[in-house]
């Protein structure tokens, strides 16, 4: 069945709310407004204001309240409008949610799910366009997810809610209108593994979230040049699925990580380090990456485009790595 990423997220939320009275959705404009990305349109009427809870512009407060409610036996889904705003709540996520279980000697788990939009591409300029997934993926105690496919958009919420510990879900803002196929496997997706979306033999393109589709597009272009690229969707940014990454890279013997985060200290850097540590002698070329340029994302379309990983950049990086540049 074809559907948009938005609809897939919406169905996942709807299922979760219908299945468990402990589940509620809380965040800015999730109710009356219908969700800033319209994923919760109609939910207020269906589930009522207790469970579709509009919050003030108070990220630290309502994310912390979600964490407290999780400790109190609820299964909150807290929506933060964008990862940029989530920095206002970073203290509660990093200093409370991620630590409580270990710091309490295993007495208190925090089964909260925090969803937020991430990424650039809509000319929203520097304070609405960043990709800071790696900040969260740095922190022990939380699981970090980045659904890129319709199946994952539809299916990841259920296992996230079943997880007794905090889970942060990044939805790439450019994907909401993206249309794709929902398959039967959406009902039982896991939140532990990476996944090969396109099989290939010459090189592995490792991507997540919004860059998955740029990598796919690049792979198509490369196929015309008889370069057979594999596309691996990380899906889970913490913990990284080393086994699937290495299995692919050992076979293709080359890897490029495509990451919308800034290059320095990026998730791409972590993936490359792991490949170097674990698969160095299987490589035919040093691992490479295509990341965002190290500038605040600008407003002007041509500058924004230039700042982000794009298909031609990925194609060029592949050619370079294969000595065909």
């Amino acid at each position: 069945m074809k559907m948009t990423y938005r609809e897939a997220i919406r169905q996942g939320l709807h299922d979760a709310l219908a299945a468990d009275p402990r589940v509620f959705l809380m965040g800015e404009d999730v109710g009356k407004y219908g969700g800033s990305y319209a994923v919760s349109k109609g939910f207020l009427d269906e589930f009522g204001p207790e469970r579709i809870r509009d919050t003030p512009l108070s990220e630290l407060g309502f994310v912390g309240a979600g964490i407290g409610a999780a400790l109190g036996g609820m299964r909150p889904i807290v929506e933060v409008m964008t990862v940029n705003f989530s920095l206002l709540a970073l203290d509660q996520i990093v200093n409370t949610a991620a630590l409580y279980r270990h710091m309490s000697g295993g007495q208190f788990s925090v089964p909260v799910v925090i969803r937020m939009a991430t990424g650039a591409g809509r000319q929203l300029a520097a304070q609405h366009s960043h990709s800071l997934e790696n900040w969260y993926a740095h922190v022990p105690g939380i699981t970090v997810l980045a659904p890129a496919t319709i199946d994952d958009a539809r299916g990841m919420l259920k296992p996230a809610l079943a997880d007794p510990d905090p889970v942060v879900i990044f939805e790439h803002a450019l994907l909401y209108n993206f249309e794709g196929e929902l398959t039967d496997t959406a009902r039982d997706v896991d939140i532990r593994s990476a996944k090969v979306l396109r099989a290939g033999n010459d090189i592995t393109l490792i991507a997540y979230g919004g860059t998955v589709w740029k990598a796919q597009e690049a792979a198509k272009e490369l196929a015309a040049e008889r370069i057979d690229a594999e596309v691996l969707d990380l899906r889970v940014l913490r913990p990284l699925d080393d086994a699937t990454i290495m299995a692919s890279v050992r076979r293709t013997r080359r890897a490029i990580v495509v990451d919308e985060g800034w290059r320095t200290g990026s998730l791409a850097a972590e993936v490359m380090a792991r490949i170097t540590e674990q698969a160095f002698y299987d490589l035919d070329a040093p691992p490479a990456r295509v990341c965002s340029e190290e500038v605040p994302i600008p407003y002007a379309k041509h500058l924004e485009d230039a700042a982000l990983p794009q298909v031609p950049k990925i194609v060029a990086a592949v050619r370079r790595l294969l000595g065909k540049g």
Partner: protein
């Protein structure tokens, strides 16, 4: 505030003596902690509550066993009053696995699920949104619980305080905001950090009812906390109490205490919560010096037993280092 020395105690013996006993237990426990810190048995940050005991004791005595407590990094007194054993708290300070947080938390992170003590939070104001969330869960699940959030006056400057007060008031949540105003945020006096030093005025801005209480008088604390808890439990929404109190010791063991007059400290010591209560009970003929000494001796015995327990405790094997980063069963 009128002189508490002249006020009748006005509560039954069992409660009055129980509160006296708890304050003495905390005092003896923490004096011993200071010694042990000098002996390097306890490390890290150690924030003593000495002088402020009436607040935790009076307030927690106003709660039910099913109520939730969120506390700060100066929480030994809250834990002991709440019923966490001195053994478990002392072993935690030693970093032993018999400690209430298995030695992962130390002095600042005393947790106890059995008595519903949700920490031991060492981010100033960090526990407040958490208390709001616990209260939200109670409201959504129709439980008549009070969520008591303890925090210092320093937290009132944090955004977390304002956001939490707003959410609690907006959603009429069962939170008792218990502000322990000891007048110094580490070394910064209230008047040097706040444009409005009347903390109740700040709380009132959110439409939350408030009360000021003498935090050196355990009975006054108890009465104020009882009223707050009753209001909160009735479903009428949050309540804010400012307890004015004073810490006799420095902020932590690292603090040279250069920011306040010794005379000021001495002045507050005259109002000490333990002799404040014991003198009044004696004047009313409800406590003899012998009884007081017996209470003190019991407390010393309990603390020494806790030290022995902690000494005999064991270190968690390093192999267990990464345990409980996540819930094991889920992995």
């Amino acid at each position: 505030m009128s002189d508490p020395a002249l006020q009748p105690v006005g509560v039954p013996d069992e409660l009055a003596l129980g509160m006296l006993r708890d304050m003495v237990r905390i005092r003896r426990f923490e004096e011993r902690c200071a010694d042990l810190y000098g002996q390097m048995k306890i490390r890290g940050f150690l924030h003593l509550y000495i002088g402020e005991e009436a607040v935790a004791v009076g307030a927690i005595r106003a709660l039910q066993p099913d109520d939730n407590i969120v506390a700060t990094y100066r929480e030994h007194g809250h834990a002991l009053t709440r019923g966490v054993s001195a053994n478990a708290v002392m072993a935690e300070m030693y970093g032993k696995q018999e400690g209430c947080s298995r030695g992962r938390g130390g002095s600042m992170h005393i947790f106890d699920a059995a008595t519903r003590l949700y920490g031991g939070n060492a981010i100033v104001g960090g526990g407040l949104p958490l208390a709001v969330g616990l209260a939200l869960a109670d409201k959504m699940q129709d439980r008549k619980r009070v969520n008591a959030a303890f925090f210092g006056e320093g937290a009132v400057a944090e955004g977390a305080f304002h956001e939490s007060m707003n959410l609690a008031a907006l959603w009429k949540l069962p939170v008792a905001f218990f502000c322990e105003n000891n007048f110094y945020a580490m070394g910064t006096a209230l008047a040097r950090s706040e444009s409005q030093t009347d903390l109740c005025v700040k709380a009132a801005a959110f439409g939350v009812p408030t009360k000021k209480a003498d935090g050196m008088d355990v009975v006054a604390v108890h009465e104020a906390a009882k009223a707050a808890a009753a209001h909160v439990r009735s479903g009428a929404g949050p309540f804010f109490v400012e307890f004015q109190t004073y810490r006799y010791r420095a902020h932590s063991m690292f603090d040279p205490d250069l920011y306040r007059d010794k005379a000021e400290v001495e002045e507050w010591k005259k109002r000490g919560p333990i002799h404040n209560l014991s003198n009044r009970l004696k004047a009313e003929g409800r406590l003899t010096e012998e009884q007081f000494l017996a209470i003190d001796a019991d407390a010393v015995r309990e603390v020494e037993a806790a030290v022995a327990f902690a000494e005999a405790g064991t270190w968690e094997p390093v192999e267990a280092l990464t345990r409980d980063v996540h819930t094991e069963a889920a992995r």
